[in-house]
């Protein structure tokens, strides 16, 4: 009889080959023939619904037709023109609720054109075979500060550099990429893709990247406004929401983002400790990424608990099903109320919730899940707002990311228009760059 799995966070629960399998590429890339077959399924719709559903409005039917016609690199240029992070978006976009969800073949047959995989085929082809596809316009002499090297910042910086402006990106973390590098599941971005993509974006030239630069610390918005012609804030959400649970102070309670970040930067996953009975609180992509990866590291039980009904969950049905397939148990309409344990976490008490006319309300019905590790994934909030006007914890912007402060634009998750999607952040960074360009060259 095998030994009872050890309680408490323990490293090396699974052999190396199992770990490798659990963290392998979620979707294997299409071969050239598979891509041609998949591309042939596109109807080249008029005013295509997939384009409308894409926050960056990539001309999807056109790029698919270019793949079908044997020109994946031409297709990639089409994609990158709209979305310079088209490679990452092909991997992390919840296509099932965006382009593929809108595909007429989804409506007709429940089998949409594989837009995400086709986009990846195109962008991978170009990035593997060619250098950077764009060239800079003549230098304008204007200097723009971009704060944050996440999707919004990189997108903004690239577009500004293309227009000939000189860009300095200020990034706190040691690597660029933002959540692409630190915040999403490893199986969605294998082979250091986030880092490779950021380096490839920088090949446009005219972008200087400075690390270890946190807003409100090493740099302030005031000095940036003085020293640069414009400032773009793509600072994301650096704070983590708290839960406020009853019970003793115990070890074993973590933020999901910290766990994911550590996992993404870990060279050898067999050295990463994970609990035996893991509980994840939350309903977004981060909660799913956290739960699936906890299971992938070898946790015996992983339970994801979300306080609302399944339909309200931020994570798409595809993500929910992925978690279920990987062995994560999903519990809906239950909220944590207390933790148990002596020194170490031993259990989490939940209360069933009911959706009434007054909104979500506790029912009094309680249950306890044994847990030696708990991850919070209940949303993030803005860190330093630097005096900008905010509403509901986000920087207020108008139009293409203009804040209430002169010379300052914002976009991505930190702004009111952000919806925690890479692709939205890319669109906002790009659009802000165009607005900045228009302003600087007026």
């Amino acid at each position: 009889m095998p030994a009872q799995p050890q309680t408490g966070p323990v490293a090396g629960r699974l052999p190396a080959d199992t770990l490798a399998r659990n963290f392998a590429d979620l979707h294997s890339p299409l071969s050239a023939h598979e891509a041609r077959v998949a591309a042939d399924r596109c109807y080249f719709c008029h005013d295509a619904p997939c384009v409308t559903a894409c926050p960056t409005e990539i001309d999807i039917p056109l790029f698919i037709r270019e793949i079908q016609a044997g020109r994946p690199e031409t297709a990639a240029r089409e994609i990158f023109e709209a979305n310079i992070l088209g490679g990452m978006c092909a991997r992390v976009c919840p296509t099932e609720v965006l382009c593929e969800g809108a595909c007429v073949r989804e409506a007709a047959e429940g089998k949409p054109v594989q837009i995400g995989l086709l986009q990846r085929h195109a962008t991978d082809s170009l990035m593997a075979r060619q250098g950077h596809p764009f060239t800079r316009a003549a230098r304008t002499g204007k200097r723009v500060a971009v704060v944050g090297a996440g999707p919004a910042g990189l997108s903004c910086a690239h577009r500004l550099a293309r227009h000939g402006h000189d860009v300095v990106i200020f990034e706190g973390a040691p690597k660029p990429g933002g959540l692409n590098e630190y915040g999403i599941a490893a199986y969605k971005s294998v082979d250091e893709f986030a880092a490779r993509e950021a380096a490839w974006i920088m090949e446009i030239g005219g972008i200087e990247l400075r690390h270890g630069q946190w807003l409100g610390g090493e740099i302030t918005l005031e000095t940036l406004r003085d020293e640069y012609d414009a400032v773009f804030l793509g600072i994301g959400l650096s704070g983590v929401n708290a839960l406020g649970l009853d019970g003793p102070k115990v070890e074993g309670m973590h933020d999901a983002v910290t766990f994911i970040s550590a996992l993404r930067q870990c060279e050898d996953l067999s050295t990463l400790p994970i609990g035996r009975d893991v509980v994840v609180i939350g309903g977004g992509m981060t909660a799913i990424d956290c739960a699936v990866q906890a299971k992938g590291l070898g946790a015996e039980t992983v339970t994801l608990v979300y306080r609302r009904a399944r339909e309200r969950m931020g994570a798409s049905r595809f993500e929910q099903d992925l978690a279920a397939q990987r062995g994560v148990r999903l519990i809906f309409e239950a909220a944590p109320v207390a933790v148990e344990g002596e020194g170490r976490l031993s259990g989490v008490v939940f209360e069933r919730m009911g959706e009434g006319s007054e909104g979500l309300a506790p029912t009094g019905d309680r249950f306890t899940l044994p847990a030696d590790q708990m991850f919070r994934a209940v949303g993030q909030r803005l860190g330093d707002a630097s005096g900008l006007k905010t509403v509901r914890g986000k920087v207020v912007t108008q139009g293409s990311g203009r804040t209430d402060m002169d010379k300052v634009w914002a976009g991505g998750d930190c702004g009111v228009g952000g919806d925690d999607l890479t692709v939205t952040a890319v669109a906002q960074g790009r659009d802000a760059a165009e607005d900045i360009h228009g302003t600087l060259t007026d």
């Binding site: 023939h33 077959v37 042939d40 719709c45 008029h46 619904p49 007429v104 073949r105 409506a107 007709a108």
Partner: protein, 434 residues
């Protein structure tokens, strides 16, 4: 299950599916396999005159056109007639015919346009006990440069002359295989009939270059950097073949002449279409070359089931059934008015009908902001383009307007009477209605 036994020129075969003279019928081994698989007949690959046989290229002989998922839609080839010794072919034919007396075996022949050449080969063929001969006046590549194949098929006088020799020196049925590389296929068919030929078979392959290599700038198939036009065949040529068959079937001077239909027959349905347009049987090549001999099982089963559904007991019951419906444009009823109708329950809102109509036709489809597509009857000329580009079968229908209703496009009442161009007031040649 309907009986597929077919008599063509008095030659009985268990089904109307013959393999055309082509690579699949070049030798005993293949033909025995074909008969075992169930083919009703075989036209043996074209025999040449006695003496050293022709040679083939030693590089690619075929080029292809593909549809989705590399489905072969068109094939072209530059292979010549049999490159095997005449005696070998004749011996094999005799053996196969003896072993398969219930199957049709036809000898395809191509020798120079000299009476002596035909006079020499015909008795040799007769000795094999083959059921008949097919004169290859169709191959457009290679042999035509030497005055044979399509070079003969393009000169009606030659066709007539050779057909007459064949009827003179050979007692069994003579089929003339026609080339489509000609402006009016009725002329060579007439010539064949004048020469006394018993039937025509068509179409042979079409002059073609399937593609050009954009690195080497060589046409495909490429032989050491150069290409020559080949003969095009396969599903892509079927519409051309159907039209040519129908022209001969309904032309006064050729009407009633037996036709063996060839050109892209891939399924039972293609065969049925050729036959209702006047072909007494069909010949198949590319489909067999693409999928192997077993496809004949689908063809037999499908045709038989269709005949059962329609109540046909023999293939003769439906051969030529559509010929009377093929007419000249001038005879089409101009009082027939239809309008496209989109089934909103089936519509998947791709908008292809809209793009096609708006960009290239009559601006007769309206699109709402929530992607509803509706036909504007006042603009619709019933051109059918929307039906053709719609990816959903039966989603768009062409609904005829009933007599007495008013066509909102023209404001005219739909007449129950037939009226065509021959009597139309805009036609300067119109015969005044009496």
């Amino acid at each position: 299950m309907a009986d597929l036994t077919t008599r063509f020129l008095g030659i009985e075969s268990p089904n109307p599916f013959w393999l055309a003279s082509a690579p699949p019928t070049d030798k005993e081994y293949n033909v025995r396999r074909a008969f075992e698989a169930g083919w009703g007949g075989v036209v043996w690959k074209t025999l040449g005159a006695e003496g050293p046989p022709v040679v083939n290229v030693n590089g690619p002989r075929y080029g292809a056109i593909y549809g989705a998922d590399r489905r072969l839609l068109g094939l072209n080839n530059i292979e010549l007639i049999t490159d095997r010794d005449l005696e070998t072919n004749l011996e094999e034919m005799a053996r196969v015919k003896a072993d398969y007396p219930d199957r049709a075996l036809i000898a395809s022949i191509m020798v120079p346009c000299e009476e002596a050449a035909w006079k020499a080969i015909l008795p040799r063929v007769e000795e094999t006990n083959a059921d008949g001969i097919e004169l290859n006046f169709g191959c457009p590549h290679g042999m035509s440069e030497r005055g044979m194949g399509a070079a003969v098929g393009q000169v009606p006088e030659y066709i007539e002359m050779v057909a007459r020799w064949c009827k003179q020196y050979y007692d069994r049925p003579v089929i003339v295989k026609l080339t489509p590389n000609i402006t009016d296929v009725r002329k060579p068919a007439e010539a064949a009939r004048r020469g006394g030929a018993d039937a025509v078979s068509l179409i042979n392959t079409i002059n073609s270059i399937t593609s050009v290599n954009l690195d080497s700038f060589s046409p495909e198939p490429s032989i050491d950097g150069k290409g020559s036009h080949g003969g095009y065949c396969g599903p892509a040529v079927k519409p051309i073949a159907l039209s040519m068959v129908s022209e001969i079937a309904r032309h006064e001077a050729t009407r009633g002449m037996p036709i063996s239909g060839i050109g892209g027959v891939t399924t039972w349905r293609d065969a049925a279409e050729f036959m209702v347009l006047g072909a007494g049987n069909v010949q198949v090549c590319t489909a067999a070359m693409t999928y192997g001999f077993r496809i004949v099982e689908e063809m037999c089963a499908g045709l038989s089931d269709w005949m059962d559904e329609k109540g046909y007991r023999s293939t003769a019951d439906f051969v030529g059934k559509a010929v009377l419906n093929v007419t000249d444009w001038k005879n089409l009823n101009l009082n027939y008015v239809a309008k496209a109708k989109i089934d909103q329950d089936l519509c998947i809102k791709c908008g292809r009908c809209y793009a096609a109509c708006e960009d290239t036709s009559h601006q007769a489809i309206a699109m709402t902001p929530d992607r509803m597509f509706e036909v504007i009857d006042a603009e619709c000329v019933a051109c059918n383009l929307c039906v053709d580009v719609c990816p959903v079968e039966n989603c768009i229908d062409m609904v005829p307007m009933s007599a007495g209703s008013v066509d909102p496009r023209t404001g005219r009442v739909v007449s129950p009477d037939h009226a065509d161009w021959t009597t139309h007031p805009n036609n300067p040649m119109a015969q005044a209605a009496e």
